[in-house]
Amino acid sequence: MPGPTNAETQPAVSVHELDKTFGQTRALDKLTMTVHTGEVHGFLGPNGAGKSTTIRVLLGLLKADAGRVSVLGGDPWRDAVALHRRLAYVPGDVSLWPNLTGGEAIDLFARLRGGFDRRRRDELCERFDLDPGKKGRTYSKGNRQKVAIIAALASDVELLVLDEPTAGLDPLMESVFAEHIREAKAAGTTVLLSSHTLAQVEALCDRISIIRQGRIVESGTLDELRHLTRTTVTAETARPASGVDALPGVHDLVVTNGKVQFDVDGEHLDTVIGHLHGLGIRSLVSQPPTLEQLFMRHYGEDLAAAGNGGS
């Protein structure tokens, strides 16, 4: 690649045509994705799309059927132990031992990973408002989740693999979490974050991959993804806006007393605005799609169309 990708070393995670089936279920279908070193990468997709499965392959907990997978330059299945010293994982559904306290579990995970900063761990317990002296069986779902998050953040690692880490957290704790992710990014840590909270992904992530039915259907920065999809334009023109509907890439045109509103495909935006300019623009509002709109396109039924558009 030319330009900005200078002497960038290898990506933190690279997956090429990964397949994984469970009996009849094809969980991953030639999945290809890249997480660059130092970025916060959002991993989005509907339930059952294959996010957790991908993450488990990246951790060497599941064995790939086919394809190439590399994590921090190593093979996650073969070099699991060495790689696990350099990464930390927060599962989507944290189960703790009923008779171990949260504090014991945190220390256990961090030590098994190879040492941690005790002061940082205490600080995190305080920030996340966790009582480390309670037995695992008495924790709520959110508090179990906090145990895993604190254990991960207390370790000094190069890569954080987080599978829906905030699913059980209240909004306040979610913002504490976001703060720590920004801190980790500032310190150069790579983060792979699977999530259903779109606002969180929008706020935290540099790049995003959207997975559906075991394949990555979109990948890139939020801006790049936006470019691929439609922008909503509302305009008022001096002369009646005729001929807009004949332009390429224009959809859902509505004309109401002198105002036009329509959606336009990213690559035709320039042509359409040029046409409006010819009609004399009085006011113009252009709304980029929210991540939610982007996402709904892939959740929606017209997936075949979206698939064609994407490739």
Partner: protein
């Protein structure tokens, strides 16, 4: 709920402070909730008893048949499984019921009572429903009183139904008065255990803990009567099940043991009520302790984690086997006296190569202890599977712990734990036996006999590991080994199983020390197979996907 809250306003206006206020409504509510359970328990126990009585009549139609059975029952093993020897004097079909079945069905009545009391008291509190109810005008003792009332009435109904059904069969020796005593003996055991549950529900906050303590009490009661019936009978008097059997129902029809049960039940219920006034709703007498906020140094290694996870079970099993061994050991001198006269047994012993009665008894007890120890080993060896399917293995294996080290931690602790459990049993048996017979050789004999079973335990554990690696969903099949081992080793002697059946059990290949000579080869072979199985499981586990159930 409506049934309970309905009378509330009227009573509230009166400022009702009676401790039993609302008990009637609560009891009706409990009966409604249990309208299927209670009839099911009563019908099940009655039907099972009638079927047994009829089949006794079928199997042993003549007096000679029944005397032959009585003869085979009159061994330590026979009495441990059934009841006191006094029943053997006049072994009618009724006496067989009192001897062989009563202990078992009374145990089930105890189980019914414990589960019911816990369900209507502690489980209600735990779920928070009791708080809602007690916030209306319900007296502080109303919950307990309603639960006990329902359970006591259930037990009395069971007694009457059972008595009627048995008397109706007209079996030999099955009189009408005897049948009433037979039914009431069940009710006595049930009500005493309702009292025990009334105490355990005060102690802990969790209904599972309360039921667990109740079940442990049942197990202890059964073990005490088993030991007592082999020995002089003193220990049986510590057991509510022993009291039921002490009625010698259908033989002597003694009623007074029921008074002992009634006194005990009254004392237990009083204790439960007194304890309940010393705690808050929802709390236990034993508060859940605040744990340590930091892990100890040991908890930084897979072995440390495994030790921590297995510790409770290991201590429990070691203590139970030490206790059981001690009970058997303490009756060794009586065994010697009792068996000295039994011709059949002496012949059998002579065939076995001249072992003494004590030696062969130690061998027999040891098989039982070894099978129980193997239950521990299976539980421990299946632990990795539970960790995996419950999702606790995943975050551990995502740290710098290899699969081999993680699994090896569990396996090593499980296998060595099995040896510890065996040794505890051997030590209890040996020490108590050495004291009873004033012969220190018993201790070394018992320890040797116990430890000889270690390779059989390892093989059992190895099988669990192999299944865990190759077919994790089938790992629970390992339970076949202790169950089969128990059937073959414990009953095989009584029922004369063929040799090949014995050879299928790993316990069958262990020399019966001290009655037999020590032969090392089978022990080495068992150990080698165990190691091979464990290695196979480990290798397979490293090749497969982690299978989490969510």
């Amino acid at each position: 709920m409506a049934t309970i809250t309905a009378p509330a306003p009227a009573a509230a206006r009166g400022g009702d402070r009676r401790p039993l206020a609302g008990v009637g409504a609560l009891a009706r509510f409990a009966l409604r909730r249990d309208r299927i359970r209670i009839p099911a328990w009563i019908a099940g126990l009655t039907l099972g008893s009638v079927v047994n009585l009829v089949s006794f009549e079928d199997l042993y139609p003549t007096e000679a048949d029944r005397e032959a059975v009585a003869e085979t029952m009159n061994t330590p093993a026979g009495l441990a499984m059934t009841g006191p020897a006094e029943y053997l004097r006049d072994y009618t079909a009724g006496a067989m019921m009192g001897h062989q079945l009563l202990g078992f069905t009374a145990l089930l009545a105890a189980l019914m009572s414990v589960l019911m009391v816990v369900r209507h008291t502690r489980a209600e509190e735990e779920s928070g429903r009791a708080e809602l109810v007690r916030a209306t005008v319900v007296g502080r003792h109303a919950h307990m009183a309603a639960a006990l009332g329902v359970v006591i009435v259930t037990n009395l109904v069971l007694a009457v139904v059972l008595a009627g059904a048995l008397a109706g069969t007209g079996g030999t020796g099955v009189t009408a008065t005897g049948s009433l005593l037979y039914g009431l003996a069940h009710a006595a055991v049930g009500i005493v255990f309702a009292g025990i549950a009334a105490v355990t529900v005060q102690i802990t906050e969790h209904s599972r803990g309360a039921s667990g303590m109740g079940l442990a009490a049942i197990a202890v009661a059964y073990a005490l009567r088993a030991a007592g019936d082999i020995g002089e009978g003193g220990l049986s008097w510590l057991s509510p099940i022993g009291w039921a059997q002490a009625t010698r129902v259908y033989v002597d029809d003694r009623w007074w043991p029921l008074l002992v049960a009634a006194a005990a039940a009254a004392a237990l219920v009083t204790a439960g009520v007194l304890l309940s006034t010393r705690r808050d709703v929802g709390a236990g007498l034993r508060r859940p302790r605040q744990g340590r906020g930091y892990a100890s140094v040991a908890l930084g290694h897979p072995i440390g984690l495994a030790v921590r996870l297995h510790r409770g079970l290991l201590i429990g099993f070691a203590a139970a086997l030490a206790l059981l061994g001690t009970m058997y050991g303490s009756i060794l001198s009586e065994v010697e006296d009792m068996l000295a006269g039994v011709e059949m047994l002496e012949e059998a012993l002579a065939e076995m190569g001249g072992a003494s009665i004590v030696e062969s008894f130690v061998s027999m007890v040891m098989v039982v202890l070894a099978v129980i120890a193997s239950v521990y080993v299976v539980l421990a060896a299946l632990r990795p599977r539970a960790e995996e399917s419950d999702g606790r293995a995943e975050p551990v294996l995502a740290t710098a712990v290899s699969r081999a080290r993680w699994l090896a931690g569990h396996v090593v602790v499980g296998m060595l734990g099995g040896v510890v459990v065996l040794a505890a049993g051997g030590l209890g048996l040996g020490l108590a036996g050495a004291l009873a017979l004033r012969d220190s050789a018993v201790l070394t004999d018992a320890m040797g006999a116990a430890l000889a079973y270690a390779p059989a335990l390892w093989l059992t554990g190895g099988l669990a590991v192999a299944l865990f690696g190759l077919a994790p969903r089938l790992a629970t099949l390992t339970w076949v080994v202790p169950v089969y081992g128990f059937v073959v080793s414990y009953l095989g002697g009584l029922l004369q199983f063929p040799e090949w059946m014995n050879n299928l059990s790993p316990f069958g290949h262990v020399p019966d020390l001290p009655a037999e000579e020590l032969s090392v080869l089978p022990l080495l072979l068992l150990t080698a197979i165990a190691a091979g199985l464990a290695l196979l499981g480990l290798t397979a586990f490293r090749q497969r996907d982690l299978q989490t159930d969510h």
